[in-house]
């Protein structure tokens, strides 16, 4: 009957297999891609695998993932098994009530579970981080354990257990000897399920993790928006291959054991159980090895730390290492995707980070809401000496008296376009409304930048809070939406390099990098004017490591460090001494990196819009995003 598989069935299985594995193969291929950009094939390389050993951020995230998964699995297996055993002895009504409650985290949407736990932790003033994530994972793991153990428990007759009691065994001993052996396969499969769910979870972790703590999932999500670091592909490829090998070998052992079934049933059952234990043990030992690789960061928390919250890809990682080497201060480094996301985090927990790097208008908002600390000038000599006076001058627009912020990077917002895909010179924001380029336009996924484009195009102030002007800008953006390929942040870079789009709104700092990778790209500041922005380092009012934070800021202002940073991130530095040290003349004199006075005169900085203004923009932005 089931002798041969039908060819149609084979083809169908093959298609599903292809569907499931195409993305995985792609990722493995990317892990050998010589180019940092996923849009380009830069030849075969093992570089990312080699880098992985030193990439403490990724390894830390991996270690966190495994530790959380392992502890959550153990705890939830214990609690879940005990609960399952006890439930079978309860009244039917109690039982179905408890099971109903248990299943909530499994049936409920992850986002609701995540949010509900986050609210609980906030209200109880739990410090979010390792512990809260662990609690969340245990909570959603328990149902998977019970799902596996309960049905098995129902099939086990209590008479053996009672017989053991009758023969004088202690209850726990009797349980261990009579019921546990029968329950073991169900417990193991429940534990494996819990472990897998825990490893794969993103959403619940995302809402409960707090600052300075990442699992692989949340790390990846924060990197998605700007293109994932290839080291992560390498790590995933390794994990995948290890698990694959583990599965194949355990399958083979099982198949071997299966052959002896007919001869000796009980021996075979014993064998399978042993194999299960072996599989679990080897899985655990691999987890431990991986953890050992990455042990450094997790438990070695000391008092000399600084919690840094910076924009994505906004520093040379080597700078962080140098800082730690020179000062002995450990850096807990986190990245945000937008100023608004940063604000939400800091508003929720002011002590989560010591030092932040927001943009001008957001610094103003933070000052307005009394969320920052004044800087002690005596502790930041480099900042006073090397940052150009004109930049402090500009900074007064959002930080009157220069009391709170030290400029870090500055630049403009403009249009990056592909010469081979766009006709004629680009000089106006209007081109972003040209139907000819439908589906070829990338907009910034940021409220202020998106509205800046629309407002500037109509000649309005880019800081307008006039409801009528905002209404018009909103309508314009809605009208533009069908032309837009995507609203992205740092992905503009990869997509423009990979010829995925013809036009993109981008920060000047990215223009230098992208032109290095794709010579057809050109950056322009439209004639209607644009935004000139300054990002600066500030210290949170509730910072716990103020001195370390000041040391961090001052370190970044050292000319050699500022230069290193500039060459890595290619955003214009306000560090005059560093500017003079730039070796490449083209860049030193580049109009993109350091625009001329005439261009700058057309540009404005953002100012804080105030609470009402923010609300106006938020509402309008939601309308734009939900327009078809």
């Amino acid at each position: 009957m089931n002798s041969k598989r039908h060819p149609v069935e084979k083809i169908y299985m093959a298609i599903i297999f292809l569907f499931m594995y195409a993305p995985i193969v792609t990722l493995i291929v990317l892990s050998f891609n010589g180019s940092k950009s996923r849009a380009k094939w830069g030849g075969f390389t093992m570089e990312w695998y080699a880098n992985l050993i030193h990439d403490s951020e990724v390894l830390n995230a991996m270690a966190n993932t495994l530790i959380i998964a392992l502890i959550a699995t153990i705890v939830s297996t214990l609690i879940g098994t005990a609960a399952s055993v006890a439930l079978t002895g309860m009244k039917r009504r109690t039982r179905s009530l408890v099971i109903g409650v248990t299943n909530i985290p499994m049936i409920n949407a992850d986002i609701v579970t995540g949010i509900s736990l986050m609210l609980l932790f906030k209200v109880l003033h739990f410090e979010t981080g390792f512990l809260t994530v662990l609690i969340a994972h245990i909570t959603f793991d328990i149902p998977y354990v019970m799902l596996s153990v309960l049905p098995r428990m129902k099939t086990i007759s209590p008479s053996v257990y009672e017989a053991a009691l009758d023969l004088g065994a202690e209850p726990f001993f009797a349980f261990r000897k009579t019921i546990l052996p029968d329950l073991t396969p169900a417990i193991i499969s429940g534990a494996l399920m819990a472990f897998t769910m825990s490893i794969d979870d993103f959403i619940i972790t995302y809402f409960t993790k707090g600052s300075g703590f990442d699992t692989l999932s949340t790390k990846i999500y924060s990197e998605v928006k700007r293109g994932i670091r290839p080291e992560i592909y390498a790590l995933s490829a390794i994990i995948f291959i290890v698990v694959l090998i583990l599965l194949l070998t355990s399958d083979r052992i099982k198949a071997k054991a299966g052959k002896s079934v007919r001869r000796e049933r009980s021996v075979q059952r014993e064998k399978i159980r042993r194999i299960g234990v072996i599989a679990l043990a080897s899985g655990a030992s691999i987890a431990i090895i991986l953890m050992a690789l990455a042990f450094g960061g997790v438990f070695s928390k000391n008092s000399t730390q600084v919690f840094v919250y910076n924009a994505g890809e906004y520093i040379d990682p080597e700078v962080i290492e140098m800082f730690t080497e020179e000062t002995g201060i450990e850096v807990v480094y986190d990245e945000f995707e937008s100023n608004e996301i940063m604000y939400a985090k800091v508003a929720a927990d002011g002590s989560a980070y010591d030092v932040l790097c927001p943009s001008d208008y957001m610094i103003a908002k933070l000052i307005d809401n009394d969320m920052l600390m004044k800087l002690d000038p005596a502790k930041i000599p480099n900042a006073l000496q090397y940052i150009g006076k004109q930049y402090y001058e500009s900074a007064t627009s959002f930080d009157p008296g220069n009391e709170y912020a030290v400029p870090y990077c500055w630049g403009t917002v403009g249009i990056l376009y592909n010469k081979t895909m766009v006709d004629g010179p680009v000089d106006s924001w209007d081109i972003l409304w040209d139907p000819k380029y439908q589906g070829e336009i990338l907009m910034q996924d940021s409220i202020r930048d998106a509205f800046m484009v629309a407002l500037a195009r109509r000649g309005y102030s880019i800081n307008s809070v006039d409801p009528e002007e905002i209404r018009q800008a909103t309508d314009d953006l809605i009208a533009q939406a069908p032309l837009v390929q995507a609203y992205v942040v740092d992905q503009v870079r990869d997509k423009m390099i990979g010829d995925e789009a013809a036009l993109g709104v981008i920060y000047s700092g990215e223009a230098i990098y992208t032109r290095r990778e794709n010579e057809n790209l050109e950056y322009v500041i439209p004639k209607e004017g644009s935004n000139v922005w300054i990002d600066g380092w500030v210290i949170s009012r509730d910072a716990r490591n103020v001195d370390n934070a000041l040391a961090w800021i001052d370190f970044l202002c050292r000319p050699d460090i500022a230069l290193m940073n500039f060459e890595y991130i290619t955003y214009s530095t306000p560090n005059v001494a560093a500017q003079e040290m730039i070796e490449d003349e083209d860049i030193r004199n580049s109009n993109v990196a350091f625009p001329d006075e005439e261009t700058l005169s057309r540009c404005d900085t953002y100012v804080s819009l105030g609470e009402d203004g923010d609300r106006l923009y938020n509402e309008a932005w939601k309308k734009v995003k939900s327009a078809d």
Binding site: P23, L30, I203, S217
Partner: protein, 272 residues
């Protein structure tokens, strides 16, 4: 332990405490936030805001895409479940290989990888171009989101369907044939009805996460397409309005509860 409710209560008590603090209280929290405003006063405005066009639109779109994904998952999973159930011997291995193994490659990475595959100059279009076939424009459209949903949630449909199919005694199918039913009649009158519980749990396990996702829509929809999950996520991470976010979550929970009730009812009917 088995027949003594008191002892059973003692053993289960750590779990009861856990469930109370980390399942029930947090849910109460959402209700509290959802029905109050900044000042702590009662309001229904957070709930009612679902009627605002931008919220309603995102909810309707999320419903549309998640229903579509669920249907596609079902249509893909059922035949696969039948093939697997038919070839009983090694299928457990196959299922793990096909569906559990990919889970070890992070969910976001896998979804991210679809970006590389689906982009205008991505892998799939590259292959199509090589074959001199017209390219496809999928990335940043609802279709891409549906692909991402189907890809991520298909295993949750296949597993329960496979389980309920493999539980059917061969002789029940034989009996139907024996009583004169042809293969189509056997499928419609016996196989399909017997797998309804599996289908329902599969539908639940696909529909709910698809309805509430925000990561998939962000990654494959180019942030252009806002689902209800994105709106809620932004209320918590971007605009920082916990009350509105909770209110919208409550609306979402209504759909989840509807789904639960429907599946509970059909299970009960099945038990009778």
């Amino acid at each position: 332990m088995f027949r003594d409710p008191k002892k059973a209560g003692t053993i289960a008590s750590p779990y009861f405490v856990w469930a109370l603090i980390f399942i029930l209280v947090p849910l109460a929290m959402i209700l509290w936030y959802g029905f109050t405003d900044d000042t702590g006063a009662f309001t229904a405005a957070n709930i009612a805001s679902i009627l605002q066009p931008e919220h309603a639109k995102s909810l309707l779109l999320a419903l549309e895409l998640s229903i579509l994904s669920t249907v596609i998952c079902f249509l893909l999973a059922y035949p696969l479940g039948m093939i697997l159930a038919k070839n009983k011997v090694s299928s457990q291995g196959i299922i793990t290989t096909i569906f559990i193994l990919p889970m070890w490659m992070n969910f976001l990475l896998r979804t991210f990888s679809w970006m590389t595959l689906l982009e205008n100059h991505g892998v799939i279009n590259g292959i199509l171009e090589f074959l001199h076939l017209p390219g496809i424009h999928v990335i940043n459209t609802p279709a891409a989101i549906v692909i991402g949903m189907v890809y991520n949630f298909l295993p949750f449909m296949i597993m329960p369907i496979y389980n309920s199919l493999s539980k059917i005694d061969d002789n029940v199918i034989n009996a139907a044939r024996d009583l004169g039913a042809n293969s189509v009649q056997t499928f419609l009158r016996v196989t399909l009805p017997l797998t309804v519980p599996g289908i329902i749990s599969g539908v639940t396990m696909v529909f709910i996460p698809a309805l509430t996702t925000f990561a998939i829509s962000t990654m494959l929809g180019g942030s252009k397409i806002l689902l209800i999950g994105n709106v809620i996520e932004q209320e918590f991470t971007l605009t920082y309005d916990w009350h509105l976010g909770s209110g919208l979550s409550i609306v979402l929970m209504v759909f989840i509860v509807i789904n639960m009730v429907v599946s509970a009812l059909s299970e009960k009917k099945d038990e009778q």
